[in-house]
């Protein structure tokens, strides 16, 4: 769904942590990517490849100071005079460890924090908090007065997502938001993201190392390796290159491996299958012929 102008453009982005110190680390050495309105985009790469550093440029947590350009909703992120608050309302970031993102004592207050800072009316704030909590599956009445730190890992992550949703962002960036959750929590969070994308027309940027999750959620993928974007394309096109991905320390969904194996045996299957139901249809076509 790459139609119209991109809402985020990253061009030859560089970033060095602890520049000038003995511990200097060159994290980004040339990242290029575009995010289009309404798409679900995946960013993959090994730990330390530069994925998180890249997306932290999307809402000005890190500003481009070296080579490279980041344009977000038409604003040049290197320009110190831009309206960063405005950008942060449009681009919401959810981090990997939700406990790092929650700080209020009560869940309701935590979700309300963002909207309060936006200076909305009390009525509007309540309305947004109620909506955000209900949509992540933490029913407002039941959870608003719960202690934040009594929540389970999955619930904390949902609360963190609700806090970002309550800002009514246009883009939601989820950095490893399903890692470390149990299968039930993972499915809940995934279906919640999908709902936001389908029903609220949210643009999704999803960082993950779980290839199965990516396959079910995103339309398009960028691979970042050692600080550079090295591969991009439609999800099935990217997963159609298992050898290339393996070279970057990544894998493909198990089901894609099966289809590659069948193709190798000379069976007429489309090896670009990324879901079990697609694979089932392909295999069934052969076995029922």
């Amino acid at each position: 769904m790459t139609v119209g102008e991109p809402i985020i453009t990253v061009n030859d982005l560089r970033h060095t942590y602890l520049r000038g110190s003995p511990l200097e680390v060159e994290a980004l050495k040339g990242v290029n990517l575009e995010v289009y309105r309404g798409e679900a985009l995946g960013i993959i790469g090994r730990t330390g490849a530069g994925k998180s550093t890249t997306v932290q440029h999307f809402n000005g947590l890190i500003r481009p100071r070296e080579k490279g350009k980041v344009i977000v909703f038409g604003q040049d992120m290197a320009d110190p005079n831009i309206d960063v608050r405005g950008i942060r309302q449009k681009v919401g970031l959810v981090f990997q460890y939700p406990e790092a993102q929650l700080f209020e004592r009560l869940v309701g207050d935590d979700v309300a924090f963002g909207p309060r800072k936006m200076g909305l009316s009390q009525a509007e704030i309540s309305e947004r908090v109620r909506w955000a909590m209900n949509s992540v599956g933490l029913p407002f009445e039941e959870f608003k007065d719960r202690f934040t730190f009594s929540l389970s890992g999955g619930e904390m992550r949902k609360a963190a997502i609700a806090g970002v949703l309550a800002l009514r962002p246009e883009v939601m960036v989820l950095d490893e938001s399903t890692s470390g959750l149990d299968p039930r929590g993972r499915k809940d969070v995934l279906s919640l993201i999908r709902k936001g994308h389908d029903e609220e027309n949210l643009t999704i940027v999803f960082i993950s190392t779980n290839m199965d999750d990516l396959a079910t959620l995103v339309d398009r993928i960028y691979v970042i390796h050692d600080g550079r974007t090295v591969l991009s394309g439609a999800t099935r096109e990217v997963f159609a290159q298992p050898e290339v991905l393996r070279g970057y320390g990544l894998g493909v969904p198990q089901i894609t491996e099966v289809m590659h194996g069948l193709k190798g045996r000379g069976l007429p299957v489309d090896e670009r299958c990324v879901s079990v139901s697609q694979a089932e249809e392909q295999v069934w076509k052969i076995l029922s012929s």
């Binding site: 730990t47 389970s152 890692s179 000379g266 079990v276």
Partner: protein
């Protein structure tokens, strides 16, 4: 058959057992783990997995019932030290487990504290770093390593104490695919060396690595068997909202449409082989 290295009998464990509102985390668990076993425990958060693991090395002791480690009851305080050197634990986040500023010093920390002679420490550190394939990084600073490398250093630190059993509590949860594969390879090597492995995980294809799988749900053991037996029970796993490996899922779906197709396939190569074989009967490829 040999004596079990860990024997769990009628284990019930409750947090705040003495209070008015005890939280029961394990109910009536019975389990024998034998030397050389590779046992995988799966289940949702809160199902009791970590509580069970902590009962294996006396970090927690039973509220009711007994746990024996190499014949020692975990309830007897005087056994605690011997039990902890028999059963080593590796946790989810390696940073919490690394203490030194140089990799080989970190690995030596455990044996030093056990009073192992210097020559033997050197030997053990070399052996442990070989197993986890971190010899080349032995002089580096742990905090500058990748997450997967750190986790392998943590494992080396535990096995340098020469435990008979190693318990991994979601040790791969935050790793990327290659980091995960590296850790699994180290664990496999260790198991082939005769170390008993107990691994807790949410990744079902990792569970397929073990020779036995235990499913915990709401403080009880609800399924138990070889990976093939357990994952073959697709509907039950679905009901528990647990994942099924994609390979098994595909085999099961085809089995439902074609009953003679096996439903309990687990590994990618066997799925490929079986489908190819069935296709050949249909004359495909021609």
């Amino acid at each position: 058959m040999a004596e079990p290295i860990i024997r769990v009998q009628n284990l019930t464990f409750a947090y705040n057992a003495q209070s008015e509102n005890p939280i029961v985390a394990l109910r009536d668990i019975n389990l024998d783990i034998y030397p050389g076993d590779y046992l995988v425990i799966v289940g949702h958060n809160g199902s009791g997995k970590s509580t069970l693991a902590k009962n294996f090395n006396a970090l927690l002791t039973p509220t009711e019932g007994d746990v024996w480690v190499a014949g020692m009851n975990t309830k007897a305080r005087e056994n605690t030290l011997a039990i902890r050197s028999t059963v080593g634990m590796v946790f989810q986040i390696p940073d919490n487990q690394i203490v030194a500023t140089v990799v080989e010093e970190d690995v030596a920390f455990g044996p030093e504290n056990l009073g192992v002679p210097r020559e033997e420490i050197i030997e053990r550190v070399k052996w442990a770093l070989d197993i986890v394939d971190m010899q080349a990084e032995r002089l580096r600073a742990p905090h500058l390593l990748s997450a997967g490398q750190k986790q392998r250093v943590a494992i080396a630190g535990v096995i340098a104490m020469r435990p008979k059993v190693i318990v991994l509590d979601e040790a791969t949860a935050y790793l990327d695919p290659v980091g995960r594969e590296d850790v699994l390879r180290a664990v496999r090597k260790l198991n082939q060396d005769g170390v008993t492995v107990v691994a807790i995980t949410h990744f079902m294809h990792e569970a397929a690595e073990g020779d036995r799988v235990l499913v915990l749900e709401k403080s009880r053991v609800v399924m138990q068997g070889t990976p093939r037996e357990v994952f073959g029970r697709v509907e039950e796993l679905r009901e528990l909202q647990l994942d099924v490996p994609q390979t098994t899922d595909l085999a099961y779906r085809i089995h439902k449409r074609l009953p003679e197709f096996p439903s309990d396939l687990l590994m990618v190569p066997e799925v490929v082989d079986t489908i190819s074989e069935f296709a050949l009967r249909k004359g495909v490829p021609a």
